[in-house]
């Protein structure tokens, strides 16, 4: 891998961020995820969390522990040096290793309160919107906002839609939304401003499981359309 331009900065006195680009792009996010996997497999001393985002990776660390152990140097400086060494070593051979997850979605009007207005805005039929949304493989760039909320994209240019001007006070769990070029699934009932075009019966976040999160950063996701009868059946299982 060619040397990556990067920028390292503190995210508080107990976290450090490395930024590997300044735009939402698959190539940049692949580098973020490669670094995430590397640091998960080769953990740095004192690191408590590793948070990948679109273009950044943030390490949350135990400042007291590290400062006690290495009092002569700033913990941040030490982390920064380690990150610089690592980023220059790590290669991005992840695309081949990424997992593809297929998710059933019911696009029935009763579960898709914004699909009709999207069709109108974009001069498409709802069937075309469904076809465009199910016709692409999306990348999970990052998980944030709520436990298990995956930020995926990019959606087809024809259905890029800004967030609703008035966010909803209540969006049911499983709702599939579009915000700009992103698409996502609400793991919990929550307030939200994304344009809702369908709902999945899959439980996106299950606290009872040892791996509670259905999706992981770096996953590939494909949606497929199911009729409402099947939605009801799957939701009850």
């Amino acid at each position: 891998m060619a040397p990556v331009p990067y920028h390292i900065y503190p995210c508080g006195d107990h976290a450090i961020t490395i930024e590997l680009g300044v735009e939402i792009a698959v190539s940049i996010n692949q580098k973020v995820i490669a670094l995430f996997h590397y640091l998960t497999k080769n953990p740095l001393e004192g690191v408590k969390d590793i948070i990948p985002a679109y273009t950044t990776l943030t390490l949350v660390y135990d400042t007291s522990l590290l400062k006690k152990k290495y009092p002569e140097i700033s913990v941040y400086e030490r982390m920064s040096l380690r990150l610089q060494q690592i980023v220059e070593q790590v290669t991005t051979e992840v695309a081949s290793a990424s997992v593809t997850v297929k998710i059933p979605v019911c696009y029935d009007l009763s579960l898709a309160p914004d699909i009709a207005s999207l069709a109108e805005i974009h001069q498409l039929t709802t069937a075309e919107i469904i076809q465009l949304h199910t016709g692409k493989t999306y990348r999970v760039y990052m998980i944030g906002f709520l436990p298990g909320f995956a930020y995926m994209g990019p959606v087809d240019k024809k259905i890029i839609t800004p967030r609703r001007s008035e966010p909803r006070k209540w969006v049911p769990a499983g709702s599939i939304g579009i915000a700009g070029e992103q698409t996502g699934i609400y793991p919990f009932d929550s307030p939200g401003g994304w344009q809702l075009i369908g709902r999945t019966p899959v439980r996106i976040f299950d606290p009872g499981k040892r791996e509670p999160c259905f999706l992981q950063p770096g996953n590939q996701v494909e949606f497929y359309s199911i009729p409402i009868a099947e939605f009801a059946k799957l939701q009850n299982t």
């Binding site: 900065y9 503190p10 995210c11 508080g12 006195d13 107990h14 976290a15 961020t17 930024e19 300044v22 735009e23 939402i24 995430f36 408590k48 969390d49 590793i50 948070i51 990948p52 985002a53 679109y54 273009t55 950044t56 943030t58 949350v60 400042t63 007291s64 400062k67 006690k68 009092p71 700033s74 913990v75 941040y76 990052m142 998980i143 944030g144 906002f145 709520l146 436990p147 298990g148 909320f149 930020y151 793991p187 919990f188 976040f205 606290p207 509670p212 999160c213 992981q216 950063p217």
Partner: protein, 325 residues
């Protein structure tokens, strides 16, 4: 050993040092808002520093102890009483079976922590007992404590000291916490977008007061003060946040992210409150005014190390006193 909630308070819940290792899945760390008070409460009863405690807000719960146990209170002062007689915070207190803990008036602070010797038996979720009420997991059934809830404790040894008739005994030592908290001047390090603040806004950030508004909770403190402005509208791509991150909202007002903060966010980060001052901030109730003082990251680390040493001394002193009592 067990205790029972006779009357519920406002969002009283089991917390510990937080749930780390799952932020890449969007699971926030949570845990005690004031980790220093949690540690003091644990130190006083001889627990490990990160043992689960009950975090209470005002008005706090009324609690009956169903067996004798050693307890301690730390953090806010809500005029605690046992069986109607005042008991101080920051002391270990032996309570008898049937003793009832109540709280009267809010004196200082915003959150009080109750520890019991041995700790509570609570639900563990993703390596932590902290209550996550969004996911409804961890702590006590993943929710705030309610009337009639019974909490079991891991207490192994029943206190052998004979009790006075009034049902409690205050042990004669007190944790000295004066060096652990600051008053109203909250220190921060500049955030990645600090440089994009207008000069006047930078100046106002460190020279004017900001009030903690009523819209402040475990997720974040919304402040009210001068509107602050960026030199240019910077389109942000969502990235990680951390506890103490000071975000500039589109309205020009600030929000400080607290224990239950979202793991990622897309607002400019003008600064980050230093870890050592998070406990002080957590004890400031809505309506209080704060001002910000800028420090270097190296200074922040050194202040935290000093705080850590003080906490360690208190921990050692408490365990020495307990073992010789």
């Amino acid at each position: 050993m067990s205790l029972r909630i006779l009357k519920n308070g406002v969002l009283d819940a089991i917390q510990d040092a937080g749930r780390y290792g799952y932020q890449h899945l969007g699971v926030n760390p949570g845990g005690a808002m004031d980790p220093v008070a949690m540690r003091i409460a644990n130190a006083l009863v001889g627990n490990d520093p990160a043992t689960a405690v009950i975090e209470m807000h005002f008005p706090a719960a009324e609690i009956e102890f169903e067996e004798p146990v050693l307890i301690a209170l730390a953090g806010a002062d809500f005029s605690a009483s046992i069986n109607g007689e005042p008991v101080p915070i920051l002391h270990p207190v032996l309570v008898s079976k049937g003793a009832i803990l109540r709280f009267g008036k809010k004196q200082t602070g915003a959150r009080i922590y109750l520890s019991v010797q041995g700790g509570f038996i609570a639900d563990e979720w993703l390596d932590s007992y902290a209550t996550n009420s969004k996911v409804k997991a961890g702590g006590f059934k993943g929710r705030a404590l309610l009337k009639r809830d019974q909490l079991l404790c891991k207490n192994k040894r029943v206190p052998i000291i004979s009790h006075p008739n009034n049902g409690y005994k205050i042990l004669p030592w007190r944790a000295k916490i004066t060096d652990l908290y600051v008053e109203k001047i909250i220190r921060f390090i500049p955030g990645n977008e600090f440089a994009f603040l207008k000069d006047l806004s930078k100046q106002q950030l460190t020279t004017t007061y900001f009030s903690i508004t009523q819209e402040s909770d475990r997720m974040g403190y919304r402040l009210a003060g001068n509107d602050l402005f960026m030199t240019a509208k910077k389109e942000m791509i969502s990235t990680a946040t951390s506890r103490g991150t000071i975000q500039l909202l589109p309205s020009g007002q600030l929000i400080i992210l607290m224990a239950d903060h979202q793991t990622t966010g897309g607002y400019p980060r003008v600064g980050h409150v230093i870890s050592a001052d998070i406990p002080s901030l957590a004890q400031l109730p809505a309506g209080e005014k704060i001002c910000f003082e800028q420090v270097a990251i190296n200074t922040a680390e050194n202040i935290l190390l000093e705080q850590e040493k003080t906490l360690q001394q208190i921990q050692n002193a408490c365990s020495f006193r307990l073992s010789h009592y």
